[in-house]
Structures are given as C-alpha cells and as structure tokens.
Symmetry: none
Subunit: 401 residues, 2 copies
C-alpha cells in the first residue's frame, strides 16, 4: 500500500494554494546538553506567528535512526516513500548538475583515473585534477561514438563527470568498473540482468574509446564508471495529487529532484528575495509551490552554529512575502536534520509546522525541536506530509462511503 | 520493505558500545485512576539521571492494542518485525527450556494424555501428573527409534515435554493431534504442505511407538503433539547490524531468543550482580549487550504491585555498574507491559529511555509512563529501536546521496 493509492483517487480540484518551504537540514542539536538548538536560538517571529495559528510536529524523513541524503530526504517530503522509490547514484549525479533525464536514459558517474603502461590503475582519481583541467577532457570524451546510442558527457568537479546513455534497450543494472584499489586494471562492466547486457556492452565500448581519446594525457588517461542507473520512474504530482506544481530553487540538485516528480522548475532565482519574486510572478499559474533554501544545510555541514542561526533568521524574513500572496496552506520543514554539532546530515526528526484555516492548532508557541515534540502532528513519516497538505487545502475527498 | 534492508547496507564499524537493558514487563498501570504506576512510584535515581540527559518515548511492542508474548516482545526489541518473523510454538518451547535448535530442526510440544481401551482420550493432560513422574516417562520416549531421524525428547513441566526432530527433508507444517476434547482418539498428524509429509509420517510413527513404550502407565499411556514448528530463520545481528552481540540472561527462554538472532550467550549469571560481573568481563569482546531482567514481569504476573516496585528499584541500582564501563548508548525498556493490576502481559506501550551523546534530549525528568508520553522519541514501534541505537552509536551511514 502506498498513500498515493488513496490520494490518486481522492484528490479534488479547487482554487487553493499550497506553499512548501523547505529549509534544507533544518533540524539541529544544542551546543551543550540541555541547551537550545540553532532553530530555538534563532529569532523567528514570522515562523512563531505561523506556529501559534498552525499545528506542529516532528517529521521522520525515512524511518527512525536513518540519516537521509538529499534524494530520499526530498522524495519523502514530496510524498514518495523513500524506501520504495530509490534514485540510483548516476541518476542523482546527473540530476545534481541539472541534466534533464528523459524516460529510458541511463546515467553513470565517471571518474578519470591514471593507468600505467600495463593498464593497471595507479591513481583512482587521476590526482584529483582541477575542474579547469578535467573539463576539456570531458569535451574530448564527447567524441566517443557508439552506433544506436546517443551519449552525453558532462563535467561535474575535479576528476568526476557524468555520462548519460540514451537509446533503445538500455537498462541500469551494471556493476561498477572501479575496483576500489590500485595496482589492478579497471573491472569490465558486468550486467546484473539480461535487460542490461546492451548497457554493459556500451559501457565497455565507451571505456575503450575513452582510453584512445585520453591516451596522451599524463594523469587522466583512463576512466572508471560507477553508479549506473536508469532514470527513476516516479508518478507525477499531477497524477497522484492533481496538483500543478512549481519548484523555486537555486541549486540544480533540487530543481532536478522536483523535475523527477513532474514539477515545473520556474524562474532563475539566485537569492531568496529573487525566489520570492518568482513565487509572486507564478502565483496564479500553479496550485503548489516548493521553495528550497539551501543554506540551513550548508552552514550546518560546515559546523557553523552561528551561521546556521543567521540563515534560519534570514529565511524567517521571507515569510511575510509568502503570506502577502494569501496562501491556503503553508508548511515549513526540512528534508532532514543537519546539526552544526555533527557537521553532517543526521537521523533526528525534523521540526515541521503546518498553517491552514482548519488545521486544529496545538499548544506550540514558537518554532523549535522541543516545542514540536508536543505538537498536534506528533511524529510522522515525511511521506505523509503531502496528504496532510492536500487535506488542509480541501483537496482530498472522503475515503469510502 | 524491512528496516533491515537499510541497516544491512548502512551499518558501519566503530568502537562504540551499546547496552540494551530489558526490564521484562516494565510498563504498568496505577492502582487507582489518576494514581502512579509501579515505575512511577519506584525510587529510581539512576534511571532518572539517564532520562535527564537522554531522550524518552513509548515503545509499541508489536502494534497498538497487541499484547505480546516473550517471543514477539523480544523480537521487536531486537529489531525484527514481530509480525513478519514468527517463532512457532514448538520452537519457542524448545528455546524456553534451553534446547539449542539447529537449522532444519523441527520442534514439537508434546502432552502426555490418558487413553481408554478403545484408544479414546479420557484426560488430555494425563491428570497433570507431577514433573517427578513425567520425567522418567520422557526418558522412556527417548527409545523411540525412527530410521533417518535423530529424535530428542526433553521434559518441560508436568504433562508437557518437547520433541525435536533432526534430519533431512523435514518441514514444520503439520497440524496438531490434540483433538481439544475427550471421548475421541488423538488426531492423525496431517501435513499442510508436501514438504511436511515426511514430518507427518515421523510424528505418526513417534506416537505409535510412544503408545507401546507407555502401555503399562496408569495415567500417561498416550501423547498428543502440538505446535509443530521449524527453527525460525532469522538473519543474525552480525549480518543486519554488523554487531558482535552478547546476551546476559538468567532464564533459558531469553538466552534462547538471543541465540536465535545470533547473539552469543555469555556467562552463567544467576543474579543481577552476577550479570553485571559478566557484562564487565565481556566488555571488550562485544559491541552490543542485551541484559535481561525477569522479575519486573514475574512480580507483575503475580499481581504484586509492591514487589514490582521493589524489583524496579533493584534494577535501577545496577545502572552505576553499567555506566562505569562508559557505554556510548544505553537503552532501558521492556519487551511489553505487565501491569500488576492485570496480572498479565498487556498492550500498553512501554516506557523507554535512550541515553547517548547526540540523542537530542527532551523535557522528561523522571522515568515513567506519563513522562514518556512527552518524550522526544514519541511513540514508536519497537522494531525501530535498533536503528535508533545504531544511529546514536554513529554506526549507520547516510541513506542515499
């Protein structure tokens, strides 16, 4: 069973507007036992006002104890069971650089490596060559030519690139060719099922031609392929929720994740203020708006408690511009916690607020982890947030008679 | 999907130590409405100190409203979905008397019964003959000889014994032979699937030879077989969590349950103090320690409120010896509630505390049912306790990129 089996049948149309404001990595930890978290220290009068008229809770991005990456973290918020729907590493990497995968594409993470005369790997990352040096080599790899397959090669960073194969009869179950050690040659690409045999052949030919194209390179004279993955098949927001959904994000990864569930990526915002401009400009054309704010996560990843507090306060200041548009449902949450004290994603449940006319408020007064424990939403798996959003927007009919 | 599908891939090694202290039947009820439970009345300064620096919640052993036996109660705590993984009655009975089942074994509960001259049952429990009388009869039954099958017969108590069949081609789907009434003969063992036909034949032959061996007995001149069950196939702690796990228990049932999930049963403790000695002696050799304390359950089963309070206080006194070893994660919980007022296992969620450096504390101040309602772990299915333990020990990597 999937919540989509219900929302698909029960969703109904109306004129309501739903805003999902995602503060990436929102949840935190105090600096000392018994202290306050980043969110609790931050001065957030606008969030707090929403809390007083809304309902709070703690969202479990995947399941208790599981620290998600951005992929599963966002799939959960979007209402897709992040254990059922998995985005393969190649597909996520392509998504992260803004490559628009189409159905049937197979995406692969590539690494430049250094090979000796015998063909053994001496450096699995080609000395981590700088991006300025690897980008021209990516251009060279675009000369790989394999009949029947359209091949895209895109730079990522340093020794990393992405390969996308487009053609008929390709599947994504091919083992990595990186042997995870030096002194041995790269592995041959091996298909794990019959449907992926053509992909394995194409990978093998790609690597062979790449060696020819890179033969004169001092460091990056070979490559390995990892994380071979098809474009994930995710039902669309239109289909499962009946929503015309817009994504307003700055970073390619989040635009890409939104595209995978059928959201339109709108605007070209580079700042939070510009994101609010884009929101206003697209207000009449969509029912649902996913707004992504990266910096609560990046400051947490940096282990910078004060900076995370400041970024949280900055996001709070965007709320009046959202409310000026008179949304029916406003949700503020994160895709996971990124406590500055851990400088990494974590498993801790994520403070969440939902404000809507008929949400049934609780006694929470301010937005923070400890308050949210007492919230009316309780602790819930993130995948149920969208059905709550739809219900509060009056967009879900009765189940059964 | 199973949480093990995630923990199996994500578990990582480090030097942390996790202690799971199980107070059997911990949860309780007040003696009058609005009063305090056994745990709330008990003076537990050590638990309370852990609560202040830890995070609390209420554990649902199976699902809301379900009162578990010891088997499902412990499987849940060990992180095994107690609905997915079931231990058949015969296997649980064998486990409970300390019989070490090996893979492929079929275990069966046997009852001595009284048969009349026509072969009809006149007493399904052979007058509940005392154990001293039934044990020599169990010895007699060890003379049953069936080619190709090794047969173990072990006494349990009064009219009850255990039969274990060991051999090739045995499966556990055979119906009970106890007709649940007198005046009729025992039923023939019937296989419910083709794989169990050999087992049914062996059971039939066992009963036949048993009648011969018992023919001169005045009361126990026959037997019935019930709860035929294979040894359950449970993935091991090593495989699903990457943990070297030790079990420190006094009673055979809990040693046996721990063995079923691949824990080593260490020491020969008969008292809580001896259990703490065993813990200290094995501290360096294991990552995870399951310590079982029976008497919070047995006093609850006895309906002895004051005794349960006293046993709870006794357990609290063991905490300093655990903390002296400097564990990274300490969990105190129960496998189910056994309220003295009900004198039986119950469905009530179980007070749980988890103490670890980065656990994100809540406002709970003392260990008790009402405080735990406000805890940061919320109410959670017991099967997620192990992923929380691993996460808090830094033993789970990130899920997805």
């Amino acid at each position: 069973m999937d919540i989509h089996d219900l929302t698909r049948d029960l969703n109904t149309k109306n004129d309501t507007k739903i805003v999902l404001l995602v503060a990436d990595g929102l949840g935190g930890l105090p600096q000392e036992p018994g202290g306050l978290t980043e969110l609790e220290i931050a001065h957030t009068p606008n969030f707090d006002a929403l809390v007083k008229q809304g309902v709070c809770g703690l969202s479990l991005p995947v399941l208790p104890g599981i620290s998600p990456g951005s992929g599963p973290g966002h799939l959960g918020l979007f209402g897709y069971d992040p254990v059922k729907y998995q985005i393969g590493r190649g597909a996520l990497e392509a998504t992260g650089i803004g490559f628009e995968l189409t159905s049937g594409d197979v995406a692969i993470r590539g690494n430049f490596c250094t090979l000796d005369l015998a063909g053994n790997i001496t450096d699995r990352r080609a000395g981590r060559i700088p991006t300025e040096e690897s980008s021209p080599l990516v251009e060279k790899l675009r000369n790989v030519d394999i009949p029947g397959v359209e091949i895209f090669v895109e730079p990522v960073k340093e020794h990393r690139f992405v390969v996308v194969l487009r053609g008929v009869g390709l599947a994504g179950h091919v083992d990595d060719t990186d042997p995870q050690q030096t002194g041995v040659p790269p592995l041959e690409p091996v298909a794990r099922d019959a449907a992926s045999e053509r992909t394995a052949e194409v990978c093998s030919e790609f690597v062979k031609q790449a060696r020819g194209l890179l033969a004169d390179q001092p460091k990056a004279n070979g490559c390995t392929l990892r994380g071979v993955a098809e474009k994930p098949q995710l039902p669309s927001y239109q289909e499962v929720y009946g929503l015309r959904a817009a994504a307003i994000a700055v970073y390619p990864m989040y635009k890409g994740l939104a595209r995978l569930v059928g959201m339109d990526v709108v605007g070209e915002a580079n700042t939070l203020d510009e994101q609010m401009d884009v929101l206003a400009a697209n207000w009449s054309a969509y029912d649902f708006f996913f707004i992504h704010f990266k910096y609560t996560d990046s400051t947490g990843e940096d282990g910078n408690f004060a900076a995370k507090v400041a970024k949280t306060e900055q996001l709070d200041q965007s709320v009046p511009r959202i409310l000026a548009l008179n949304p029916d449902v406003v949700i503020v949450t994160g895709d996971h916690s990124t406590p500055s004290m851990l400088a990494s994603h974590s498993w801790h449940p994520v403070p969440t607020l939902l404000s809507a006319r008929n949400c049934r408020t609780d006694r929470c007064e301010t937005f923070g982890e400890t308050q949210c424990i007492q919230g009316g939403l309780g602790q819930f798996e993130a995948k149920y947030l969208m059905s709550l959003a739809l219900a509060n927007a009056g967009r879900l009919g009765k189940y059964g008679a």
